[in-house]
């Protein structure tokens, strides 16, 4: 069964991003797409340029925030938007590749800049049905 999907959830001032999937990796990947979707429609981003991201944290939850913040940093400094990601986890070490294209204001109509991923409503967990969830609120 394909459980891969992303959602947004409400936070009073900002926006929650949630990734779901069969594995923790998939949930992390989908959370990243949910974050892109706060800015623009991910389907409008061509996966032309590739970058690599590495991070490490003491636990799954801090690792999710580190992963999303690494993407925020790459978006801010390279002026890229990402539409495809591939995450590999080894314990609390993450190695990922992300594909996207330079932000084009006419094409992507970006809504809002993400300041950072936060620890609010932060969760990485597997439910009784074996579905993984990775979520947090992002500050915009």
């Amino acid at each position: 069964m394909n459980r891969k999907r992303w959602e947004h959830f409400s936070h009073e001032a900002d926006m929650g991003v949630r990734g779901l999937g069969n594995t923790k990796e998939e949930a992390f990947e989908q959370a990243a797409l949910a974050m892109t979707a706060v800015i623009t429609n991910p389907e409008a981003i061509a996966p032309n340029e590739e970058i690599e991201i590495l991070c490490e944290a003491p636990d799954d939850e801090l690792l999710l925030v580190d992963w999303l913040n690494a993407l925020v940093y790459e978006m801010a400094t390279r002026k890229l938007l990402f539409s495809r990601v591939e995450v590999h986890l080894d314990g609390h070490r993450l190695k990922a590749r992300a594909w996207g294209e330079p932000m084009n204001r006419a094409k992507h109509q970006p809504t809002v800049e993400i300041k950072g991923a936060t620890y609010t409503s932060l969760k990485v967990e597997k439910d009784a049905m074996g579905e993984w969830l990775a979520q947090c609120v992002v500050d915009v």
């Binding site: 947004h8 959830f9 409400s10 936070h11 009073e12 001032a13 900002d14 926006m15 929650g16 800015i39 944290a57 003491p58 939850e61 801090l62 925030v65 580190d66 913040n69 925020v72 940093y73 801010a76 400094t77 002026k79 932000m103 204001r105 109509q109 970006p110 809504t111 809002v112 800049e113 300041k115 950072g116 991923a117 936060t118 620890y119 609010t120 932060l122 609120v137 500050d139 915009v140």
Partner: protein
């Protein structure tokens, strides 16, 4: 929230008695109707802040309080370093020293109306706004460090504005004890091309007219009259501040157990003021305050250029500049004794009363100007700090209207184009690169700023001076 959770001390003061691990009470200043509509998360967050080591007197929330990160937005808390007090990255927030500055124009509404459209277009052309916009300045390593130490003073030395501006900025435009060496290379890289940019989200630049004066004496001291036109700028420390917030939040969350600090919520990440991490954060945060002050100073210069091209006679002296995401060392009298405290204001404005030495001499008799941003289509306010406020909330007041509806919900409710057209029929011109951004910031997504400001005034935190309504809004 259920009002039965509170001890009701006066009409606008709601106290939460210490319970569990709370070291001090919680106090929310608000009207009953604001309390009833406030998210229960504000209650939880006010209580959590009250559990932090070294907190003095109470954990406060202002009338515009809403659900934040660890601290409520609209939260105020002071810590004593000699009682194990902490400094918290979450208590300052990601957008360090986000704030509002207000410029006089010397113009009346009738001077603007004939050129309103060309002025709006020119401001939009000159002010980099929205995601991915860049400024004209590129700083090398040395220039970056000089900016992080010098703040608005540095910007003035580079030709952005005049030395007279500096008198009308908190800290006189330069936060002392900033440590650029504590700011990571990543944070500096994120700022490389963002000097003099407005940002996005709830950040804006507005041309506003004064529609009502509430206190003629203070308004005269501030230099504002009914029908005057002013310019307000709301933005912060851009990518640099966001990156510092991100990095120290993690560093503090990981280090807290080692300092024997139990965090009821990870987002409350903090470190003792007297600790390596605490001191490193303070140095970096102060550098970010300077970045925000420099940024608003450069934007001021761009606004002046944009005005001059359309209305050559316009002069735009700075009325005042306030920051509402900070931690500052201040002297406050507690139980009759003066104490040096580290006052966190997360979405709260410093509001010192008349006579306070930190207020510039020309404004001192009135109290500090407190600049309250509304939302695009509604009003903004200028208030003045009070002596009472200094004893009630460590000299703090609200900072804005506060959201009533999430972005998610707002985007589903409104279309950007409709919002822009509707505001145009009311004489308000919006310029923004993002239609969805406008929908998410629709006036209806915010609380009624009039009610919030009335509560701050009635609670004695700050006094109402003037109400402002927008003519032009540049939205990032």
């Amino acid at each position: 929230m259920d009002i039965a959770l509170f001890e009701h001390h006066s009409e606008f003061e709601w106290e939460i008695a210490p319970q569990g691990a709370m070291r001090v009470p919680g106090v929310i200043y608000a009207s009953e109707s604001l309390i009833r509509t406030m998210d229960h998360k504000v209650y939880e967050q006010v209580c959590n802040v009250a559990m932090l080591p070294g907190i003095i007197k109470a954990s406060y929330a202002m009338p515009d309080a809403h659900w934040g990160y660890g601290f409520p937005i609209g939260g105020v808390a002071a810590f004593d370093p000699d009682e194990g007090g902490v400094v918290s990255a979450g208590g300052v927030g990601f957008d360090i020293s986000c704030g509002v500055r207000c410029l006089h124009t010397g113009l009346m509404a009738e001077d603007i109306l004939p050129v309103q459209k060309v002025l709006a277009d020119n401001l939009y052309r000159k002010i980099p706004a929205g995601l991915g916009s860049t400024g004209a300045i590129r700083l090398d390593q040395e220039g970056m460090d000089a900016m992080l130490v010098g703040g608005a003073k540095w910007a003035v030395e580079q030709g952005y504005g005049t030395p007279a501006d500096l008198d009308h900025i908190e800290e006189y435009g330069q936060m002392k004890h900033a440590k650029p060496g504590n700011v990571s290379e990543r944070a500096k890289k994120r700022q490389r091309d963002e000097m003099g940019t407005l940002g996005s989200g709830n950040h804006y630049l507005e041309v506003q007219k004064v529609t009502r004066i509430f206190d003629a004496r203070i308004a005269r001291i501030f230099g504002i009259r009914e029908n005057d036109v002013v310019v307000s700028i709301h933005c912060g420390s851009r990518g640099l501040g966001h990156q510092i917030g991100t990095e120290f939040l993690k560093q503090m969350a990981v280090a807290a157990p080692g300092y024997g600090i139990h965090l009821p919520d990870r987002e409350l990440a903090c470190a003792p003021i007297h600790s390596t991490v605490g001191e490193e954060y303070l140095g970096a945060m102060r550098a970010a305050i300077n970045c925000a002050l420099a940024n608003r100073q450069i934007l001021t210069h761009l606004v002046r250029e944009a005005f001059e091209q359309i209305i050559p006679k316009a002069r735009l002296p700075l009325m005042y500049d306030v920051s509402h995401n900070t931690c500052k060392v201040e002297e406050h009298v507690v139980d009759g004794k003066p104490r040096k405290l580290y006052v966190h204001r997360k979405g709260a404005t410093r509001a010192f009363g008349p006579g306070h030495p930190d207020i510039p001499a020309s404004l001192r008799a009135a109290g500090q100007p407190v600049l309250i941003g509304g939302s695009m289509g509604t009003a903004s306010y200028i208030l003045a700090g009070t002596g009472e406020g200094e004893s009630r909330s460590f000299g703090s007041a609200c900072h804005g209207a506060g959201r009533a509806m999430s972005r998610h919900q707002a985007y589903k409710t409104w279309k950007g184009r409709e919002v822009i057209d509707e505001l145009a029929t009311r004489g308000i011109l919006i310029r923004s690169p993002s239609s969805r951004g406008v929908a998410e910031e629709a006036p209806g997504a915010y609380k009624n700023v009039d009610v919030v400001v009335d509560a701050a005034d009635s609670a004695g935190l700050a006094r109402k001076v003037a109400r402002l309504e927008p003519l032009v809004c540049i939205k990032g």
